[in-house]
Symmetry: C2
Subunit: 219 residues, 2 copies
């Protein structure tokens, strides 16, 4: 599978992260995503007229929505990441995939405003982002009452991967995660998963340990 990728994009990271966790090898094609970059050029626009990345290609399958890529990779390599096949779990996973659009539109837009000075009503974005975080916190707190660490069931699903990156990067948009203890515990559980990979701003769980002699790649 070939992923058109930008290292600072949380949506691209969702795909890299799930692929790493389930052992799918991606061929990365880095895209210059700065304003005026090649994502608005003819090669990329032919693949995605919306001018956005990630884009995933696999034989004749071409996907331009990150949630669809998560479904595709999990279906191919790790169906347990799609739930247990019941209507109930399927619908709950879909609930969080839809919710992740709100995270992108609020936390993600606040981040772009703060990092790239993209125009926008930053107070309104932060306020809507905090509302989404309160809903996520309430859902995760309820899960914890049943000793469940993840959003839908007792193991991670694509729902967790869809929501994790924009939440983890909320501080880039000026939104502290301090008021949300269940969210912070949930993030620890994801960051502790075997084969977890990092992106700039999102670190493995080992970050607080004293660093040994620094290895070449992560640790």
């Amino acid at each position: 599978m070939k992923l058109y990728d930008y290292v600072l994009s949380p949506s691209c990271y969702k795909i890299r992260l799930l692929a790493a966790l389930v052992g799918v090898e991606l061929t990365l094609r880095p895209v210059d995503f700065h304003p005026g970059g090649e994502h608005r050029g003819p090669e990329l626009l032919a693949l995605n007229p919306a001018g956005a990345i990630p884009i995933l290609e696999d034989d004749d399958v071409l996907l331009t929505e990150s949630s669809a890529m998560l479904v595709y990779i999990a279906s191919r390599a790790a169906p347990e990441w799609l739930g247990d096949g019941s209507a109930r779990e399927g619908a709950r996973i879909q609930q969080w995939l839809s919710f992740s659009h709100r995270l992108t539109a609020t936390l993600g837009s606040a981040r772009l405003h703060e990092m790239l000075l993209r125009p926008g009503d930053i107070r309104g974005l932060q306020s809507a982002g905090k509302q989404a975080l309160r809903e996520l916190e309430a859902a995760l707190t309820e899960q914890r009452l049943s000793d469940v660490e993840f959003l839908v069931c007792d193991h991670p699903t694509i729902a967790d991967i869809a929501c994790f990156p924009y939440v983890a990067l909320a501080p880039d948009g000026g939104i502290s995660l301090e008021p949300y203890p269940s969210i912070r515990l949930w993030q620890r559980a994801i960051r502790a998963l075997q084969h977890f990979i990092e992106m700039p701003g999102i670190h493995r769980l080992h970050e607080l340990r004293p660093a040994p002699v620094r290895p070449e790649q992560g640790a």
Copy 2:
């Protein structure tokens, strides 16, 4: 299943439409969704802190995202509306569920601006809505080259239901569907489905026939 419903909401209509098409009986609970209405009152906010409808309740399942409700109803009553179970079709359906969020944010917001005078950059919304329609038109035109009438395969899926209402109501937001012949043929195919139901602004395929003596309920 109990649906908290508002007759003019295209998202609520998605749920009523799929339920009708697959023969699921819904108990409708009409909600006063006008500004200052009860969707911001304590009963509804307890079910959905985002203050939005539709809301679907079924035993201990509570869903507040229309795409999740489509998955739930199809899983329960008509799994063929979820595709053939392959990674490819599952991902393509998800692609259109995600795309439907763009339709809501563009065509839907333009409609609210025009109908309810909700503030917004109407030119920007219309322009982004037309871009989404061009992408939909291109995809449907490619499907028609393979003699396929629907978005994902040769029968309708929840992808069609997720995208249909906001497209059909685009003219309410000042966006004509005249430039999109494949979209218009696709809409005819959906409106011709057995057990199709209407909402204000979206009619059955028989609308152009001379009306007989007017029956009590639709016709």
